[in-house]
Amino acid sequence: MHTSRTIEILVGVFVAAGLAAFFMLAMKVSNISSFAEKDSYVVKASFDNIGGLKTRSPVRIGGVRIGRVTAIEYDDNKLEAIVTMHIYQKHARIPKDSAASIYTAGLLGEQYINLDPGGAEGFLKNGSVIEETQSAFVLERLIGRFLTQASGTGK
């Protein structure tokens, strides 16, 4: 049973193409190729309510993604959610009195952290804590408030 060289080469190409496809799925499609941790610095912020924010959610300034949420924890003492975010090192010039708020992209979109730059001289650096935060906008609470107001004025 003679196995010709061509067949062996074609099988090699087949296996290589399959592995290349898997590699492309891993690197290009999934989130494994997210930025390396060393090219970023860590900033924390605490929120009363983070709504639907998740780890890996984007951090944006003016709509442009400048980093990612990497951890969300609950602080038992402050009774608040502590959000840790990694911001790309190339965006190192963010004023330290910037405000963080949780926005929703579109009506049904994902939630992200928006930073509103402040006017202070200093910049956020590794380990900084953002003081001024605004919680997620929770639709149910808003509707509830609207309904109580409407029934109040109706009397």
């Binding site: 592995l19 496809a21 989130n31 997210s34």
Partner: protein, 260 residues
């Protein structure tokens, strides 16, 4: 009434007999796996006929499925102004479901039926008996290389299907319909996770590879050694593979993604 009950009982008995035979056959193959290390060339030949020759249909199907998916999803998503999420929609449906399942169905039609017909004809023309007479174990020599080639080929083909499908939807979505290039890939990378979606898809296709190849070689080996019998066995391979793949897909999906 009694005749009908007897018929029911007989067919039930028949099904269990076949299942038992198939299981014993699988065990027999597992025991003989070591023989492949002694004759790796047998495997290369089968990888060629099972895997390489299936590549064309898999790549073309993947491309068209991806393009159609991109087109249809765009039409729905654009109504909500969320056409940027075309990337994750297409990537998730391809890597989780369509890639493994459609590859398995196409594979059973392209390669599984050929395996059954080949083995069945070997049996009908007494080639398997001759091997036994020459003290060559036909299971080790003929069946195991084909089975293993099928199991190895399936995940590779499924990965190709998904990758090409995503490229197809990229061509339609970004190239023709004007979805933003950056949003397509970044949203996709944001939503698709390696361990949850891609690895689970590969595990699925691996399971399908085992089931489809097992059915194909068993149907061939167990075929009635006549022209008619081989034809029926080939049909059974495709039909049983489709049922097994779709049923198994539901079970695997419930196990992998059911907790969400």
């Amino acid at each position: 009434m009694l005749n009908w009950l007897q018929y029911l009982g007989r067919s039930g008995e028949h099904i269990f007999e076949r299942l038992g035979k198939a299981t014993l056959f699988l065990l027999q193959m597992m025991c003989g796996l070591a023989t492949l290390f002694k004759h790796p060339r047998l495997l290369v030949r089968e990888l060629y006929s099972v895997g390489v020759l299936s590549t064309a249909i898999i790549v073309i199907s993947g491309l068209t499925v991806g393009m159609v998916l991109g087109l249809q999803m765009y039409n729905t998503l654009v109504d909500f102004g969320t056409e940027d999420s075309l990337g994750p929609v297409v990537a998730l449906s391809l890597t989780r479901e369509l890639g493994p399942v459609l590859t398995a169905l196409l594979f059973s039609g392209r390669a599984g039926s050929a395996l059954t017909a080949e083995i069945g004809l070997m049996k009908a023309t007494d080639q398997l008996s001759v091997m036994e007479m020459m003290a060559v174990d036909p299971v080790k020599r003929v069946i195991i290389p084909r089975f293993v080639a099928g199991v190895i080929s399936m995940p590779l083909l499924a990965a190709m299907f998904s990758a090409v499908g995503i490229l197809g939807s990229y061509i339609v979505g970004v190239g023709l319909l004007g979805v933003d290039d950056g949003a397509f890939w970044s949203q996709m990378q944001h939503k698709v996770s390696l361990d949850r979606d891609i690895i689970n898809g590969i595990i699925k296709s691996f399971a399908f590879g085992i089931v489809v190849s097992w059915i194909a070689v068993f149907q061939g080996y167990d075929a009635v050694p006549t022209t008619e019998g081989v034809g029926r066995a080939t049909t059974h391979t495709v039909v049983h593979s489709a049922f097994a793949v779709l049923g198994l897909d539901f079970v695997l999906t419930a196990m992998m993604f059911g907790d969400n």
